[in-house]
Symmetry: C2
Amino acid sequence: MSMIADALGVSSATVSNALSGKGRVSADLVDKIRKKADELGYVPSNAGRALRTGRSNVLGLVLPDISNPLFPQIAQAMETAASNAGYGVLIADSRGKVTTQTQAISRLIERGVDGLVVIPRRGTRIGDVGCPVAMVDTPSTPGNTVSADHWEGGAKVARHLVDLGHQNFLLIGHDPASNVQNDRIGGMKSALGRNTRHTTIWLETLMHERGERASLGLIDHVQNGVTAIAAVSDLHALRVLTELQTSGIKVPQQVSVTGFDDLIFSPVVTPSLTTVHMDMARIAELAIAALVREIEQGKSTVQNGKAAKQTVTADTSKVSMELMVRASSGPAASPDAPFPTGETL
Amino acid sequence: MSMIADALGVSSATVSNALSGKGRVSADLVDKIRKKADELGYVPSNAGRALRTGRSNVLGLVLPDISNPLFPQIAQAMETAASNAGYGVLIADSRGKVTTQTQAISRLIERGVDGLVVIPRRGTRIGDVGCPVAMVDTPSTPGNTVSADHWEGGAKVARHLVDLGHQNFLLIGHDPASNVQNDRIGGMKSALGRNTRHTTIWLETLMHERGERASLGLIDHVQNGVTAIAAVSDLHALRVLTELQTSGIKVPQQVSVTGFDDLIFSPVVTPSLTTVHMDMARIAELAIAALVREIEQGKSTVQNGKAAKQTVTADTSKVSMELMVRASSGPAASPDAPFPTGETL
DNA sequence: CTGAAAGCGCTTACAG
DNA sequence: CTGAAAGCGCTTACAG
């Protein structure tokens, strides 16, 4: 910057004003300065600016587990949204543990992030961290900033399966402590209606009770009349699908299978997986917009009366989920399959 | 910092020296200063430090496509390695395009990263960017810093299949312009030996010629005697596996299937997928170590004679890949399957 | 062992 | 429209 100023015989204040386009500099000079900057390959120093303005223009993204297959979508969407808003994204992996999550957050704070997007570990509340935080979890979580409407997503799959004529369902969750999964399953149940039956399996519980590679007992369920299996994740749906196929049960002719999240492999398998897609780009935009608004209003400083409001509020907190109907749900199960009377859950 | 200095009646220089543990301060004072710092919840300003030292302690990670299913492993490993070395990680997605890759790199540079880890878009060479760069591609790529030994990985799968008694192979690649994939396929071919046959399909080429959802013609290949199908990615292996299963072809009884990368779903499907696993943690450590060494030697400044050496060199440039034998390769194809004489590729 | 001083590169009132 | 000055928070020679 001083190089440009010296080369042109102007003050660095003028260079700064010209380059930041604040309009206090004559058009001619702005042109000259711009040209010189290009010529010298001038790259403004973030450190200098950050020190002066007190803002780093960097956001932190805290993920519960980077190796989660949904992470790519999230990271990509956040990076794009942040980048469009002029922010960089620093990532931190909390590796499933709450303590690590706290450490991850501290590390980001130390690096001077202006705000944080946190995908919390199931049911974690984030303490006061000294900067605005956007939480992306599920609408039923207190403090949630934006997220997909997982409940509605569950309802959509269930309704789809009901419309197909299914009456006997197996719902597969993983972790009963997960808000997201509970919402998805809750949504499914809410849409199943009176003359259907369903059973819910939580894999984590099952594995805990019967060991790591416990059988899901899929065949038994099918023999007992289940014709639709709806999982809270494509990963589980994939497991179900391939297990059924290996046992010679035809999908979707004999059993319909659905997942969640539209993971990368879902359209690729045969039969392709019916699933529910979330508009991560929109969620990210809303989260980042809320964060940026708070940051740029400067409200986040501890100044104001009590503790600064921690988690930020977005314009819309629920983003609709889209049902992707593909081959694995297929046509209705043959209607002559007798409806097993008995307990309706 | 000045708060601590004032509270204790010492100079900020002393606070700085005490906190950074340079040993120029008496033990007593160090203790007092540490306590005061904790008490005040002092968090050093990165901006101040960066401005003074000229280093941000942040590294940039440039990914060809965040939505790649391998990305979680990479990002996680890099984040851990960087964090252990005292660096943060700023991500940037080059979204497949070379121009976007260049933009992504510029953005990171503008944010003042000290170094870059680049997973390059197939066959891209990185120009002079003004900071050290570690490239993670494949050993056969010029400028490669560290990577898995993809060729060896390919050789390992092929050898495994040969040992199982297979003699007629279908190799499935995606993009013939990818160095990684070419190395994997090359390695496979190198290990197939004399009395075997093989055909290679490149999906991108196929799709280009026959449309998006073109059939792989798997059944035909199997009818023509193929008993082992080896793909360059678990994603393709999964496609193959489910297509075969849907057609009633038993895996592994009739055909063995193998993939690459040990993606998250690979151990979960039935039959579980035989694949090749890379030690991303080690690759990340080597890449980051090489980068940090270069950064901390300060060699990267443009000072020295010609242009500063761009891509950095690691202690080891090839990291071994590990074969994960699982159910999908299974026992040898029945040996009474007649070996179709004819062209040996 | 401790401190006073300078300066990293910016931006922002404030004067002119 | 342009410039001189101050200061953001740190660290690093340099004195003492």
